[in-house]
């Protein structure tokens, strides 16, 4: 660990003395309020992740009071060590009171990495829910003993190098613990697109046109393929369509898929990837009488909503999802919920993957 990384993490402490040291931290300054509504753990096997995650947590604590527990793992290291740091992230509430959240960071190396689960559990605030943000692929460290005790798992499947294995581990976890809430940031990135689609279908003409849909076109960044496919799976599931027997994926990176409506008619779905695109830059639905297009230009933080039908046109803007990881997690935590829709469309999504 470099000096600057050390600095970012606060005061180094003995693992055995963490609670005592945290207590001292609060005693030192009475003007601060210690606030916490959850335990928020962040796990990463990437080098240098602790300082980066400390910065992310600082942003998240502006909206979500928590006890943060950062875990950085270095499996390759020969030496077996466990180091810990504590600090507090403070923000002014209404320009007066300083509201602070405590953070404990752990760095585990070599064979100590196996202790990470107990390290987290030993430092939780009792009775508050545990949210774990697992960065990178799910590995063998993601064990039953871990996910049985967490309330909410945050992942980002777009970052996975080996998605098939990770999705498999994820499905197993769901199988073992039905109440586990999984929040995939690839799904979070589609939130405002979904909201825009829903808003446009409030228009009676659009709603009437749904059964006559012929084609769906999506343009996305190849890094965000899963967001695009989640969006497709979501749309088709809620429209009541099933993947068709002659579902085709031409092997090319770009994907074409086919869904079957209740009346047996087919709908073609075309997903194009473009390196210059925003995570999703276009979602277009073409039917007999109505065209719906939601799009996002490069660098824009707004979505363009367009609905064209024979009698009228609707042309507005709405919020787009952030491209910043900290902000995405913040928004996702604010929305809460059981994320049951994601779970429901997951099998359809896996078919597309």
């Amino acid at each position: 660990m470099t000096d600057s990384e050390n600095m970012a993490l606060g005061t180094p402490v003995e693992v055995a003395n963490i609670e005592k040291e945290l207590y001292k931290l609060w005693e030192a300054d009475e003007a601060r309020t210690n606030a916490s509504l959850m335990n928020f753990a962040v796990y990463s096997e990437e080098k240098g992740s602790l300082a980066k995650n400390s910065d992310i947590v600082r942003k998240i604590t502006r909206e979500h009071a928590c006890r943060a527990i950062l875990v950085g793992i270095d499996k390759q290291a020969k030496e077996k060590t466990v180091s810990a740091w504590i600090t507090a992230h403070c923000h002014l509430a209404h320009g007066q009171k300083s509201v602070c959240c405590e953070q404990i960071a752990f760095h585990l190396t070599g064979r100590s990495t196996g202790r990470f689960r107990n390290t987290i559990f030993a430092n939780l605030q009792s009775d508050l829910p545990l949210i774990l943000w697992w960065q990178g692929d799910l590995s063998n460290m993601f064990s039953e003993g871990l996910y049985r005790r967490i309330n909410r798992l945050v992942i980002d499947s777009s970052d996975w190098k080996n998605p098939i294995d990770s999705f498999k581990l994820m499905s197993e976890a769901w199988g073992d613990k039905k109440s586990l809430v999984i929040q995939d940031l690839a799904w979070t990135r589609t939130y405002n697109y979904r909201l825009a689609v829903a808003a446009l279908y409030d228009d009676p003409m659009a709603a009437e046109s749904l059964p006559t849909t012929q084609k769906i076109k999506v343009v996305a960044n190849p890094k965000h393929r899963f967001s695009a496919l989640l969006m497709v799976a979501w749309y088709c599931d809620l429209a009541g369509w099933q993947p068709s027997q002659d579902l085709v994926d031409d092997g090319d990176l770009n994907g074409s898929y086919r869904f079957e409506k209740k009346n047996g008619e087919l709908v073609d779905v075309e997903v194009k990837y473009d390196d210059e695109s925003m995570p999703i830059s276009k979602f277009e639905v073409i039917s007999d009488s109505v065209e719906i297009c939601i799009s996002r230009n490069k660098g824009d933080d707004l979505l363009h909503h367009l609905l064209k039908c024979s009698k009228h046109t609707l042309d507005t803007h709405g919020q787009a999802d952030s491209i910043d990881g900290a902000e995405l997690v913040t928004n996702q935590l604010s929305r809460g919920g059981k994320n049951s829709l994601y779970k429901r469309i997951f099998p359809k999504f896996l078919d597309l993957v």
Partner: protein, 510 residues
Amino acid sequence: MSNPFREDLVSRSRPESCTVVIFGATGDLTHRKLIPALYNLAIDGELPSNVKIVGFARRDKSDEVFREGLKELNKDVSRSGHNDEIWNDFEQTVHYHQSEFQDLDGYKRLADRLDAIDTERGSKGNRLFYIASAPEFFDDILQNLKDAGLNNAAKGAWARVIVEKPFGTDLATAQHLNQVVNNTFEEKDTYRIDHYLGKETAQNIMVLRFANAIFEPLWNSRYIEQIQITCSEHLGMEGGRGGYYDTAGAMRDMVQNHLLQLLSLVAMEPPTDLSADGVRDEKVKVIRSLRQWDTPELVAENVVRAQYTAGHIHGKSVVGYCEEDRVDPESNTEAYVAVRCMVDTWRWSGVPFYVRMGKRLPKKATEISVHFKSAPNVLFNAIPGASDEGNVLVIRIQPDEGISLRMVSKLPGTSLRLEPVKMDFHYSTSFGKGSPEAYERLLLDSMAGDATLFARRDEVEEAWKFVDHIEQAWHAEENQPPMAEFTAGSWGPEEAEDLLAKDGNTWRRL
């Protein structure tokens, strides 16, 4: 045709696209509250697409000039800031319609205009009429809406009306108004706004009571000694408010609506379901069960009214009520009121509810405090010098929304000293993000047809009935209960302290 894509995106009834017509659209309420609320809903993606807004007022203005004025104020007051690009889209949905409230022709032109809007955007013709005018125009507006046929919705669509406070000035005027409203709109399409009900903590009263198993068993006369509802304001009659206030007074302006609504949320029985009528059925039973103070003697015994005299607030000297701008120097209107209410139900038998509201009190706060009975006078409470204060649960409605619980704890040390300590929960610091403005929630609910957070006809009339007895005693030819006085910047008159002292209680210090 239902919209399948709304599933799981919002956990509330779905607001439907409509045209919102605001009567009194060049006024303060529209600029400060209504338009910023609609704009913030648009930013959050909560406003149904295709909503149009038509402002109706007397002055001659173009759409552009109207929009420009709204934009200037939105920049100052919008909860989540102002984004030009989103505003530019939003303002395209805003139009201005010039007419006198009394001019039927203006309403006919409005009807044509609304039809044209519906044709242009292919919508089915839902209309939400928001009456944001002074109450003397309610009759004209409602009658003209009816004469122009605007109260009749097209097939498959709805026409609803939102009425602002004050909803009448006594039972007779409220009944008249209800009749006028219900001549034009059915009760199910009538939404009487009480913006206190749109506040996060007010909504949370029911959640606190009925979603937590630990409170409800204690929520009765067996464990609760008394309940206090305080609404204190440090402001006086700034900005010309005196003109209106002096005709109303604290009782009509705040107690009849907001504070009795809070009281009914605290005292109601669990509703059978969360439907609008399920909840309101229970709330109205509380108001109906209020013991009536219907003789001058009972009023004198249970109600204190007062005016402030010159004093100091936040280090500045301020004048007395009767010297305020636009207030009659001989005024007989109360700027402070404290009422001892008794809810005659099995649950609340013998538990006083003290409700007070005052201007020029030391700070701005609205809070409900539930005072539990003290633990028996044995063990720790029998120790000489032990405090016999019971637990107090405080629900703060504004400004610092939250909940706290006071309990007794041992002071550290070798001797046994007990002192009260406070467990505190603040919305702002715990949830970080700000709560939506009350008007945002209420506008969405009315678009969704959910009237839970609006006052129903019988609630309003029952509340007036209670208030009328008191007002009548105050304004009777003889035997009038006295008008007390207190120094501006203090916590109210001595008489209000005596009111509680008779029961062996004291006002909670805020």
